[in-house]
């Protein structure tokens, strides 16, 4: 409206002034500077960077909380509170004698001593290896971190015990096991189904099947987990007759259900992106429909299918609720698919609520989180850049 008025005034102005002002000419051919436009553009631009900022912030803050585990006491931030928390929970490898010397005045000290008397005794050797007073509060924390980092590549995950061990191997193996199972289940199903809808299905049927499969993506993972826990676990146990009701097999199938819509959608897109000329040329050469589908269209879309599988892996790898509910959550090392497992993501979900903030266990959980983050980030980057480049090359025939 405002603008219209302006232009009308300008036109009227042209008639009133007999000699047109040169400034008016510039007004017509050049953009006039407008504050509203300028501000709007700046705001929109800065908001658009939000998503990049969020990614960077996630990087920074997840790592920040995981970082203390790598600090070997070079310059330890004073962590008095966190430290006493550590002692309360684990009571191992503490430097209680030194503490007493330092905090002798504090009233709560005797209490602590009573509580942890036994443990202190067996760990005094640890404490005394430090020079008494200099191994202050930071001493015990780094001590904890040092021993924790040593236990990272071991086979036991026992974060809550007198002698906490943070062996990530069983969690890693459990996660990989479940990922493989769910991909073996979801991959072929989703890819073949995508092939059906993009090549074989009549148009009507396609418009029915495609949204139905995509509805699966709308089922919340907690619902899939609940279904797996209550119904699928019992059903599969009756069919296969294994001992442990909740195991990596059930969890893998359930997570496959979550991965199917992702793999299906991306594969479908890749298959429909294959030029129609491929299809027609193949048919013209005398190939039948199924031969065309399997030997022409499917190979042409391989990079896209690869990307679909990668994103499916990413989904399964980071899936938390299904893992929490349907895998049994026991950190075991075995390769048997009918054993309970505990995945990396489920470990975070199950234990984060119970840890003491700033404690070694807390840092280790954030370390697992950063591992998950780096892994899915890398998967996505591969799917994005490498695969897309390949796909483009292949379709353009270069």
């Amino acid at each position: 409206m405002n603008n219209k008025k302006n232009s009308i005034e300008k036109v009227v102005g042209l008639f009133i002034h007999k000699k047109p002002n040169p400034a008016d000419k510039i007004d017509i051919t050049h953009k006039r500077f407008r504050w509203s436009d300028f501000i709007a553009e700046k705001i929109i631009k800065s908001v658009a960077f939000l998503s990049i900022t969020i990614i960077i912030l996630i990087f920074f803050f997840v790592f920040r909380e995981a970082f203390p585990i790598f600090s070997f006491g070079e310059k330890e931030k004073p962590k008095t509170e966190q430290n006493s928390a550590t002692q309360e929970q684990y009571g191992t490898e503490t430097t209680m004698p030194e503490k007493q010397e330092q905090y002798g005045v504090e009233s709560n000290e005797p209490e602590q001593q009573e509580q942890y008397g036994v443990q202190t005794d067996e760990d005094t050797t640890m404490g005394e290896s430090f020079t008494p007073i200099e191994a202050t509060e930071s001493g015990s924390s780094t001590d904890n971190n040092k021993s924790a980092i040593k236990t990272l590549p071991t086979k036991t995950w026992q974060p809550v015990s007198d002698n906490p061990r943070y062996g990530l191997l069983p969690l890693l193996i459990g996660t990989i096991k479940i990922t493989i199972i769910s991909l073996l289940f979801a991959g072929p199903l989703a890819i073949l189904a995508a092939l059906y809808t993009s090549v074989f299905a009549p148009k009507r049927l396609k418009e029915l099947i495609k949204p139905t499969i995509e509805m699966l993506a709308g089922v919340p993972s907690v619902v899939i987990g609940f279904f797996a826990l209550m119904v699928m676990a019992t059903f599969l146990q009756n069919v296969f007759g294994y001992d442990v009701r909740l195991n990596s097999f059930v969890g893998g199938i359930a997570m496959g259900l979550a991965a199917i819509p992702i793999i299906y959608t991306i594969t479908e897109d890749a298959l429909t992106a294959v030029p129609k000329t491929y299809y027609e040329a193949s048919l013209a050469l005398g190939a039948s429909k199924w031969q065309t589908a399997f030997f022409v269209i499917l190979p042409a879309a391989t990079p896209g299918i690869f990307a679909a599988v990668l994103l499916g892996i990413g989904r399964v790898f980071g899936e938390t609720m299904i893992a929490l509910m349907a895998t049994g959550n026991a950190a075991m090392m075995g390769l048997n698919p009918f054993e309970s497992v505990r995945t990396l993501a489920a470990t975070i979900g199950a234990e984060m609520a119970e840890v003491v903030f700033g404690d070694t266990h807390y840092n280790v959980l954030f370390l697992i989180g950063s591992m998950l983050f780096i892994f899915t980030f890398a998967l996505n980057a591969i799917a994005e850049f490498w695969v897309k480049g390949k796909l483009m090359k292949k379709i353009q025939g270069k």
Partner: protein, 303 residues
């Protein structure tokens, strides 16, 4: 005629049958899941269940606080996610050059946000919102008194907003792209500035896209549990959350704790199925509305 009658050998039938079978298996699993949950939850699905509090140590009663908490969560989440998502989409379609470095990196960031596991958002919410922003707010405004530096509904909603941001961006972008170029050019030719064109021409035309994005985001946010596990969801609360700094109950979390953490899982089975049914109805009906809206947007592009 000869061409039409090409060899339909046995192999062809087998392979085509295989692909059809996999599509049908997927649909069958979905249908079985829906039917089982509907049958299991049907008996509980009534007005009383929806509008009463849990009683007798959560073994009886309804799920009203969980529904209420979910509603508050998605409302705050939408308030945070929808404007930012829309603006990002506007930038990507209206301002950024299609293949510029900035646009590509923003797109990459959006896609990365979409695939990051939801539990990572939970960790981020804990590390950033609660431990960093919340604690700082406490020490600056409240002199160290613990109010914001702990899990609450605001931090949970904001964490969820980050998770649903890509959903909004993608659907708004899709809608913006369906607006004909000629409309924009006509507006610019009439003397409107770029911002005026966006405000008066582009945005009204993409309202349905923004709606779709919001609905999909709400449906996603209502179902996710992992991001709010440690940023605000509570096991049981006797009262409804009264302020932003309160904890809250959520449908998804309710299902999770009732089926895994509660002492008498068998006794509360109907409640669990009922809650699952409510959550499923909520997310599915939202999804169906979104699909219809999206279908209408796509049809507009063809016309």
């Amino acid at each position: 005629m000869m061409l039409k009658n090409f060899k339909r050998d046995a192999k062809g039938f087998i392979f085509e049958g295989l692909t059809l079978a996999s599509a049908l298996i997927i649909i069958a699993i979905l249908v079985v899941m829906l039917v089982v949950i509907i049958i299991g939850g049907k008996s509980m699905f009534n007005w009383e269940f929806l509008t009463t509090f849990p009683t007798d140590g959560m073994t009886k009663g309804g799920i009203f606080p969980a529904i209420y908490g979910t509603a508050i969560l998605v409302i705050i989440m939408s308030i945070a996610a929808v404007p930012f998502g829309t603006i990002t989409a506007i930038y990507l379609t209206e301002y950024a050059k299609e293949n510029s470095f900035i646009a590509r990196s923003i797109r990459f960031a959006v896609r990365t946000l979409a695939v990051i596991p939801s539990i990572i958002f939970g960790l981020f919410g804990l590390g950033f919102f609660i431990k960093f922003v919340g604690t700082e707010m406490d020490s600056v405004f409240l002199g160290g008194q613990l109010k914001w530096g702990q899990p609450n509904i605001l931090w949970a909603s904001l964490t969820m907003a980050l998770l649903t941001l890509p959903v909004v961006i993608v659907s708004v972008e899709e809608a913006l792209k369906t607006i004909p170029r000629e409309l924009r050019e006509a507006s610019l030719a009439l003397g409107a500035t770029k911002w005026q064109t966006i405000r008066k021409v582009v945005l009204p035309g993409s309202m349905s896209g923004i709606m779709t994005g919001t609905i999909l985001a709400v449906s996603r946010g209502a179902g996710e549990v992992a991001p709010i596990l440690f940023t605000g969801a509570a096991y049981y609360l006797a009262t409804l959350p009264g302020s932003l700094s309160d904890q809250f109950m959520v449908l998804g979390y309710h299902i999770y704790i009732m089926s895994t953490q509660s002492a008498n899982v068998d006794q509360t089975l109907p409640i669990q199925f009922g809650t699952t049914l409510v959550l499923l109805i909520l997310t599915f009906s939202l999804n169906i509305v979104a699909i219809i809206l999206r279908y209408r947007i796509r049809r507009r592009r063809i016309v």
